[in-house]
Symmetry: C2
DNA sequence: GATCATAATGAGAGTAAGTATCATTCGCAC
DNA sequence: GTGCGAATGATACTTACTCTCATTATGATC
């Protein structure tokens, strides 16, 4: 298990709840018990999770509510949806609740791990993307840079 | 409509068919009439397309066969599947049938446009990704660098 | 703390992208 | 031309996700 900046970049639980509450309030959403438990399930995972992951980790949560609330959290900028091609979408905290990072996506098992690149490269990427976006009349919101391959568990087969 | 290197980076139709035929043969697949028409529909689009795009453009093709054949083409390295979160997956020719590029993904309408970055930046990205992949015991196959935002048609709203 | 308007919940029905099935047809080798 | 295995395509199926709606929780106001 590689130790990444992931662990360090997390807010404390109380800070996280405060930040989430603020963002939900800004969109006129309530921070209910179910949403709090959902946020804690994602926090506890420490990596991108699918709906089944969440329901297993927090059996009291109804799948339909989890789907609905993941949508609410995404709309409020609390959570990002990662659609990497597997059966399920993955969810993780959005910036700046989790600092800017990218993903190692395993083409075999579908697992997703967070990785961090140095700021200089990120800046170059943003500059280049801004340039090509400008040419296309495209308004950038965020970029995603994922590495697809085989995770340590699945081997290089 | 922005003019990109997209148009220039395409092979001629006959070269494309030859390359596809080779790749299919290498995987013991036949290059049938239906697969040929599918390839031509993707070529004619000149950008990533969904299954409905293909079926509309080539009404003679049966959806079930198109799905199956897109799978065959993906397995043979002819086509890449892009899952960007919309309702449908997008398909386009894989490298080197189409030269290495990235995507502008519209968060409103879901459309995907190809863009090209300079080789120096690509090299830096690859170096950095190789480094973090190595630390995680991850075997890289390819990277995807997509810019999410709003396309010229959807505005900055 | 009680009341109330409104939002959230959750069980289940519904939707639709994509896959599996299988009898028929096609393509290639001989 | 014959024959065998692969490809086709209509259809049934699977399943991730969404919608519905009666019930319940939430937070503001008194």
């Amino acid at each position: 298990m590689t130790r990444s900046r992931n662990t360090d970049s997390r807010l404390s639980t109380s800070d996280l709840h405060a930040a989430v509450s603020l963002r939900l309030a800004h969109h006129d959403y309530r921070y209910t018990q179910g949403r709090r438990r959902l946020v804690e399930a994602i926090l506890a995972a420490g990596q991108p999770v699918t709906l089944p992951d969440i329901v297993v980790a927090a059996p009291g949560l109804a799948p339909s509510s989890v789907y609905r609330n993941l949508d609410v959290l995404e709309r409020s900028g609390v959570v990002n949806r990662i659609t990497a091609g597997g059966d399920h979408a993955y969810f993780e905290f959005a910036e700046p609740l989790l600092s800017h990072h990218h993903h190692l996506v395993c083409v075999d098992c579908g697992s997703i791990e967070d990785v961090y690149l140095d700021d200089e490269l990120e800046a170059s990427v943003d500059r280049s993307l801004a340039e090509v976006a400008g040419r296309a009349g495209f308004t950038p919101l965020r970029h995603s840079l994922d590495l697809h391959g085989r995770c340590a568990g699945c081997g290089s087969g």
